[in-house]
Amino acid sequence: MSAWRTSLPQASTAAVQVDHAFFWVLLISGLILFVLLVLIVGFVIRYRRGSPAFRGPLPKSFKHELEIGWTVATTFLAIFIFWWFTAGNGLPPRAAPDQLEVHVVAKQWMWKTQHPDGAREIDALHIPVGRQVRLVMTSQDVIHSFYAPAFRLKQDVLPGRSTELVFTPTELGTFELFCAEYCGTQHSHMKGEIMVMTPAAYRAWLPRQPHGDTLAHEGEALYARFGCGACHAPGSQVRAPKLGGLYMSTVLLRGGASVKADDAYLRTAILEPRDQIASGYDPIMPSYGGVATASDVEALVAYLKTLEKGGEP
């Protein structure tokens, strides 16, 4: 039998918070359990059948004061724990300026990650220590869950949608990555490693990777392969919306509504083009739902985000 795990590294800022919360809730519930055990065992011994203990009626004050007392106390304690650990920490952290955005695609049964400069990995993720990381994750098939116990992080990865995890690694080393949402036959084989490196080592590591392309470059290639330019290029015969500077601009929709062209909008526009039709254009674009894979869509979106106004493709 190999080594016996008795502790888990605290490898992120979140890990410290979670362990802190865990400690206090453990202490509070341990105290409650201890008091109850003492009372139950004490009563059991003192009032066992045949013991000489006094067994008269309860004192009058005992009844309602006690009940109302512990009801109120329990309510306050519950609200207190909620306020202390959830109300403040339940919402995701704010984005840091030097945030590192890594794209993660999950599929049965592997993790594919891609760094901003195009470095690709399978079942592995290298990140520099001390820098905030934002994982943008999507699934190609069923629901998976990105679980890194050492970071105390977990987030389900859904098909047709992207979910995010924002965290800051604080410790160097190699840590486990699991899939925590049951995803089929080889669910328990869907594992990986997260390598936290010094920033210098990360910079040195990046170029040595099986360097695919940057996500945006890959998106550019896909743009050409799918023939998007046939309609979207400035000189095209077909009238289609211009894509330069589209990201984060406000798009007027047919019917008068308007929408901000964020990641979700771009993704929907590729997969379900007739869902939100830009004002002044005909709904003629075909859906790329069955054509572009989840990672293709991520690449296309990354490419669209790089296009400046006027800098048309």
Binding site: T74, I79, T86, P149
Partner: protein, 555 residues
């Protein structure tokens, strides 16, 4: 009236000049007289036999799982078999054992007796409810024969609708059909409690077991249909290929989870509320004490049933649900902890100044109390969003819900079985063996599930066929605990069957308990009572006011 033993009533107190009706066990001996019965007691027995069968099917499935997990490599069974086994365990144990466990057996048997009625309000619907259970159970058996299903008991989409190539349809239909059995039982219980209480049996004189059945029925009636519809939508998507949850066609897989947990969280209360009712009966009887804070206990039961509907989102903190919804559901989950805590405090306070006996049912009740408390307290961890993010979908959650559903409900089920066994069969069980089984069950349970809390916190994900070797020691402990637990479950099977034939005759009220069911003969005849039962204050074990004779002497 002080705590004086009732003279043991004869089995059949014959009134002069009238023939004594046969007890329900001897009221017809043909198979037909059982299969077409409308007697709530016989239907309870039919349910008891069927859920026992399914309990063992579920137990065999989990034995394979636990044996596989003795080693970190996947060496005993293939991953596919492993997945089918834990799925089978979940589906069978949740829907074909735990949900009907106490309500359909003890609820069926005792509810009319406890309120002084001859039967449930709709006896034919009651037997229909058993047939629906059987139909659902048969579909589950068909599922097993067809090679099993590997979706997990939660049937999460899109795995269940588009990716699994196992018998999802029959499994889902089995649960669907079984749902109607729950609904009909619930309708029957609610109507019976409202209209068939004996004269003098006011709402605040009802035993807490009846209140628990009432609250449970509320959940059954209002939550189960949503599950039925959700499973139907899975069938529609899988079989007819119509888009419902499919993300590639505009659907939202999280909608499935919302609808599923809208039922499945309250379903936890379908399992545990009856156990709370049982514990209340046992603790009051064996502490010889009026239940502390009766009315608070009632309010707490109803509050748990109602608030239990508002907390389903705490199963979805990492699912991609909005973080704002997480905060709302976290708050509501903390709120449902309050009535649960009140119940534990009141049971403890009931022991104060009691006269506590240690018969087997009471040992089971103590087991329930301890295990339910641990299960409930670990619920606080899971309601706290940051902690839940780390421990959800790990063995921590597995341990938590087993503490509630097995530690709580199954302990109470066995407590009830021993407590009412004399009423059901007219015989006494062997006390020493029963105490050994009760103690064994408590220790076996803790050995099985406590290590799971630890390994869950250390990052062991659930539903894993192979796992990092550093967790092996915990799995070995867990499996050895499961073996003990298995012995503790099988023991009663043997000595109870033995006592059914050779046990000592019980008399009407061997525990000197105060519920109306003890005024009927053991076993009761078709119409339950030979003479109309006399309704008094509930749990009148100890005088509420005024000193007893002994205390007067002291003064």
């Amino acid at each position: 009236m002080s705590d004086v033993a009732h003279p043991a009533a004869p089995d059949h107190p014959a009134t002069p000049g009238s023939a004594v009706p046969p007890d329900y066990l001897h009221d017809g001996h043909t198979l037909r007289s059982w299969l077409f019965t409308t007697d709530h007691k016989r239907i309870a027995i039919l349910f008891a036999l069927s859920i026992t069968l399914f309990f063992f099917i579920g137990a065999i499935a989990i034995s394979v799982v636990r044996l596989e997990l003795v080693t970190p490599a996947g060496d005993l069974v293939s991953d596919d078999t492993y997945n089918k086994m834990f799925t089978l365990h979940g589906i069978v144990m949740v829907w074909f054992f735990l949900i009907p466990s106490i309500p359909a057996t003890f609820g069926n048997f005792l509810l009319p007796l406890m309120i002084g009625a001859k039967d449930l309000a709709f006896p034919r619907i009651n037997v229909l409810s058993w047939y629906l259970y059987v139909a659902g159970a048969l579909l589950t058996v068909v599922t097993i024969i067809a090679g099993g299903v590997d979706t997990g008991w939660t049937f999460y989409v899109p795995y269940s609708t588009m990716f699994s190539n196992t018998a999802v349809l029959t499994a889902a239909m089995g649960v669907f059909v079984n749902g109607f059995s729950s609904v009909l039982t619930g309708v029957n219980f609610i109507a019976t409690t409202h209209v068939l209480r004996a004269p003098g049996m006011t709402w605040f004189r009802l035993p807490l077991f009846v209140w628990a059945m009432y609250a449970t029925s509320l959940v059954m009636v209002l939550a189960t249909p949503v599950l039925a519809m959700t499973l139907l939508l899975i069938v529609v998507e899988r079989w007819f290929d119509l888009p419902v949850f499919d993300a590639s066609r505009g659907g939202d897989p999280l909608l499935f989870q919302h609808l599923f947990w809208f039922y499945s969280h309250p379903a936890v209360y379908i399992m545990v509320l009856p156990a709370m009712g049982v514990a209340s009966e046992l603790i009051a009887c064996f502490a010889r004490r009026r239940l502390f804070g009766y009315s608070f206990m009632v309010y707490a039961l109803v509050a748990i049933a109602v608030i239990g509907f508002f907390v389903w989102g705490h199963h979805m903190f990492v699912s991609g649900q909005s973080p704002y919804a997480n905060v709302v559901f976290s708050f509501l989950s903390f709120m449902v902890a309050v009535p649960s805590a009140i119940k534990v405090f009141n049971w403890t306070a009931t022991l104060y100044r009691g006269s506590i006996g240690f018969d087997a049912p009471m040992l089971y009740a103590f087991g329930f109390l301890g295990l339910f408390t641990i299960g409930g307290l670990t619920g606080l961890f899971l309601a706290t969003v940051p902690i839940d993010i780390h421990v959800t979908d790990t063995y921590f959650v597995v341990a938590h819900f087993h503490y509630i559903m097995v530690g709580g409900t199954v302990s109470a089920f066995f407590g009830a079985l021993h407590f009412w066994w004399p009423k059901i069969t007219g015989r006494l069980y062997p006390e020493t063996l029963a105490r050994i089984a009760a103690v064994l069950m408590f220790f076996g349970f803790n050995l099985t599930f406590f290590p799971q809390f630890v390994m869950g916190y250390l990052g062991m994900p659930r539903r894993y066929h192979v796992y990092p070797p550093e967790f092996q020691i915990y799995h070995v402990l867990s499996t050895s605990g499961a073996a003990l637990l298995g012995v503790a479950y099988v023991m009663p099977l043997f000595y109870l069957i033995w006592s059914f034939r050779w046990g000592a005759r019980a008399g009407a009220n061997p525990w000197r308990a105060k519920g109306l069911e003890w005024q009927a003969p053991s076993p009761p005849p078709r119409d339950n009572f030979l003479t109309p039962p006399v309704v008094g204050e509930p749990y009148d074990y100890h005088p509420p006011e005024g000193p007893t004779a002994a205390e007067e002497q002291v003064a």
